[in-house]
């Protein structure tokens, strides 16, 4: 098994764990944690292909990960603000109870 394959398999497993958590858990905060894990799996793929790819001196993979971490931080801030706003509305963070559009 080459090192690149190890990285890619780790990333795929991390993505699958995050996806399972985001699909199975009913708490909105845990769904957000699952999405963060999936984003981290994508970042690991970028770093692995930067490290073992043909032109690492161009730094494109690393720069993409830096910007991706910035976008993930913004996503976490807005997502948690939405969850807090949701909790004020229905006094729950269970996503099964968020089934009306009338506010």
């Amino acid at each position: 098994m080459t090192p690149l394959m190890g990285c890619l398999l780790l990333s795929a497993l991390l993505f699958a764990i995050g996806l399972a958590g985001a699909l199975v858990r009913r708490n909105a905060i845990l769904v957000l944690i699952g999405i963060e894990l999936m984003l981290n799996a994508a970042n690991l793929n970028f770093i692995a292909f930067w490290r073992y790819g043909p032109h690492p001196e161009a730094l494109t993979g690393m720069m993409f990960v830096v910007f991706s971490i910035g976008v993930a931080a913004a996503e976490a801030a807005v997502g948690l603000a939405l969850i807090i706003s949701l909790y004020r509305h229905i006094k729950s963070v269970n996503i099964d109870e968020v089934n009306s559009m009338s506010g």
């Binding site: 394959m5 398999l9 995050g18 199975v24 944690i33 894990l37 981290n40 690991l44 993930a72 913004a74």
Partner: protein, 163 residues
Amino acid sequence: MLFTIFAILTLAGAAAAMSLRNLVHSVLALIVAFGGLAVVYLLLGAQFVGFAQVLVYIGAVAILIVFAILLTRSADTASSSIGGSWVAGGVTALAVFGVLAWAISHSSASHGAAMPQPEASMQQIGDALMLRFALPLEMIGLLLTAALIGAVTIASREKRGPR
């Protein structure tokens, strides 16, 4: 060898974060997973990204999630249980992993020769950020400002009374 240890640590942390019942324990396991991933970045020669991972994910995102858990008082309620559709979710995740693993093991890209460790000094990263990636850097600054204002607006709307 070191890579295997930290890969297992990362996966164990992620699995624990997704399966523990108490949400605070969940976030602690998530911090373990993020830390293991940061060490994997360091092993791959991406020092800057590794430390950015520690600062942003462990330092900011995990703390933000803890704040959200405490503000919504959902650490020990029954709402953190596993829903009824867990078989469908698990089967979907397993199928996605199966497809990904099949593609990885059959791809010609993952059988390439081992490359020497590329060097990414701080000076190269700074040059790239200030010259070639200057426009994306400005846009990420704009996006973070907009997200900051948006998050504060969304989270504090109810205090001004009924709409």
